[in-house]
Amino acid sequence: MSGSRFLQLLRRFRGAAAIAALSASLLVFVAACGGGEGSADLVIYSGREEDLVGPLIDQFEEETGLDVGVRYGSNAQLIATIFEEGGNSPADVFFGSDPGSLGALSDKLGVLPASILEQVPVSFRSPLGTWVGVTGRARTVVYNTDALTEADLPESIFDFTDPVWKGRIGWAPTNGSFQSMVTAMRQIVGDDETREWLEGIKANNPTEYPKNTPIVQAVANGEVDVGFVNHYYLHRFLAEEGDSFSARNAFMRGGDAGAVVLVAGAGILKSADHQPAAERFIDFLLSVEAQQYFSDETFEYPLVEGVAPQADLVPLEEIEVPDLDLSSLSDLEGTLDLLRSVGVIP
């Protein structure tokens, strides 16, 4: 093609040529900075939301000078990703939000050093030492304050099978925290009684939600009168919408699974490239500073000595927590089988 013809072609076609040139230069730019991936000093896969843990990770970076890369996603999404990555996972730390997720990943996690594990009470860490609890979250019943007072609520989660609650309950049977509560229930009262409870609740036509947040919203809206949730979602709504928000938490007092305290926790992958930095990070999560942050900002219960929970919360000691080891909550498969056979999950 002669020069003038080429120019002519270019002129006729300058829009597309500009786009082509632009995308070519963009691709070069992408290739140039695409290599930045391998440069992080620590890679965290976080099933906990960025709005909650992001500021804390920034602080860790500032204090240590380490460059931390974080991938946020749902627990399940990140666990599936780690499995599909096989031995090539770039992740060093998995920070998950319920014992079930941490348990599912247990084979992929290495044993944590005793210096980390011992900072947290035995009941809030893995029996194998593969993960450690970072914060506590209590199971609770959230109720609509226009329809009910706390006195109207039963003592035990088992009383919600009473037909007076027909059509008034919201729950999230596909949610990890709910399933952990069911696992706790199986540990405490056995599979048969748990099945009866599930069938009883199911007979009351509960409304199903995908997770905790919409349950709290639905309770406040009066869509349902009560919901089975983790305690801290309510406090976020209260912070955003003020005291007029028409929902409050009530803790079950029967010492049953309705008031079990679950954890969010972290572990280090066996395939981690940055083991020392990973240990340093988990250590940081258990520091007074970080625990205070969780207490103030996420309304969860701190798990290390010397940090008090947020003032509005019922202290952990006052919740009638069932006598139960969190380490016994690893049998998620058994719980799923039960939930499927009762027909509350597909």
Binding site: S23, G69, S74, P346
Partner: protein, 543 residues
Amino acid sequence: MALEMEAVAPAAPDTSGWARTSWPPIFILVPSLLVTVAVMLPVAYVVGRTFGAGADAWDLLVQRSVLDTLLRTVFLSVAVTAATVTLAVPIAWLTVRTDLPFKRFWSVLTVLPLVIPSYVGALVAITALGPKGLVQQMLEGPFGIDRLPGIYGFSGSLLVLSFLSFPYVLLSVRAALWNLDPAMEEAARGLGLGAWATFRRVTLPHLRPAIAAGGLLVALYTLSDFGAVSLLRFNSFTRVIYLQYETSFDRTLAAASSLVLVMVGFALLMIEARARGRSRYHRSAVGSARAPNLVRLNAWRWPALLSVATVVTISLVLPVTVLTYWLVRGWAAGESLSFVWGALFNSAYVSLLAAAATLAAALPVAFLTVRHTGWLSSMLERTTYVGFALPGIVVALAFVYFGARYVTPLYQTLPLLVIVYVILFLPIAAGTIRASLLQLNPHVEEAARGLGRSPAHVFLTVLLPLLRTGLLASAVGVFLVTMKELPATLVLGPLGFKTLATATWSASSSAFFARAAAPALLILLISSLPVAFLTFREQRPAS
């Protein structure tokens, strides 16, 4: 080169009577094959996962009431498609062919619902129309209405998905209307047909490929949507697949279910092929693409205006109002709205890249399937749609698998992410380009060839300029859907890569609605720019 190949190429079945050069030129064939291989990777992954685990997965699948879920999902998909065609075709016609007041304004606004992520749409619908929602609160005082029709389940999903996805049909039908030679309609009018009869007997049949292409996208999109059905509690197949990941971290069962979805996708493709028909859609004699005479609405202009305004109110004004309400309420409560400019830049930048790359991938495929018909090219075309029927998380995990194992240096980098966007959104571009290409008479290219130009030269200097409107429309379509894409961005983006969509998701999933509102509104704002550009450009008569 291409000429030599023609000589040795076997004579392919000649379906339309024009094809003397059935063997496609190399610059079309090679990219098309590459694209096909890339598109088949998620299917290979799904098949591998399903059968890699032995017979277990199939057993599990057969045990469950799969058929129920499947029928329910297909029913929703068909209903949403019908609803979107009903909404989109009249709007397209009104905004292109009539003297509807403020046409450009409506043209921009009616495309924008496409960028509202479906979980945001559903959240907004629940907030506005749910029990004790905003609408009910408004009605409660003056009218004493304390119960609205239920938003959950089938009806809510139908409503939300239809109003969010009708722009798929709108985009492709609008492009087709712009490319339609007005001489045909004028001839019909000249022969005594009325405006309505002309539309029904001349215009509408020519829009068939565009309607079919857009409708197919809607149908497949509905199959793969998770956000809306999960919040609105409709147990679609994709919801079940997500729950399988969510509840048991079970990749095998989820893969087996996805395989069923792929098959449904193929079935829909067959239906679309039928709907598209075998007719020719280009004018047979030389004509000129020029601005048609506008149909005067006269007395009908106000009802027309009112209907378009109603659709815009439901699909756009309502979500924007609820988002603004959240934003202002958060603001008033002292919520700091420090905004991440990085996310804004990333979103715009990655969406531009995705649009350019998808266009480059779709063009050869569309050309091949229109100009070189045969079983191979129609197979190629079908496969390009597969990514669209699969839930985003399945496609993303497929590329985690291949990326982490076989192209480790590219894993979790922008180039691989852009490739995944191309695979996810290829049909959006390919369908629209296809529809435009069908309206071009191949004699134009043949004439250029006859005058001694090479196939590549003809492609660049004759075909591309004539296809400009379709190309731009498809680029804008891909740009919009990339803006809101979530699962692939979360799983495959570079570490710490934030977009407006991930910011919205992150904030809304932790119930910080005020914080979710700002990025969601910005997605809308940024997206309106290319849409406005497209609209203003297409109002000029094509040269």
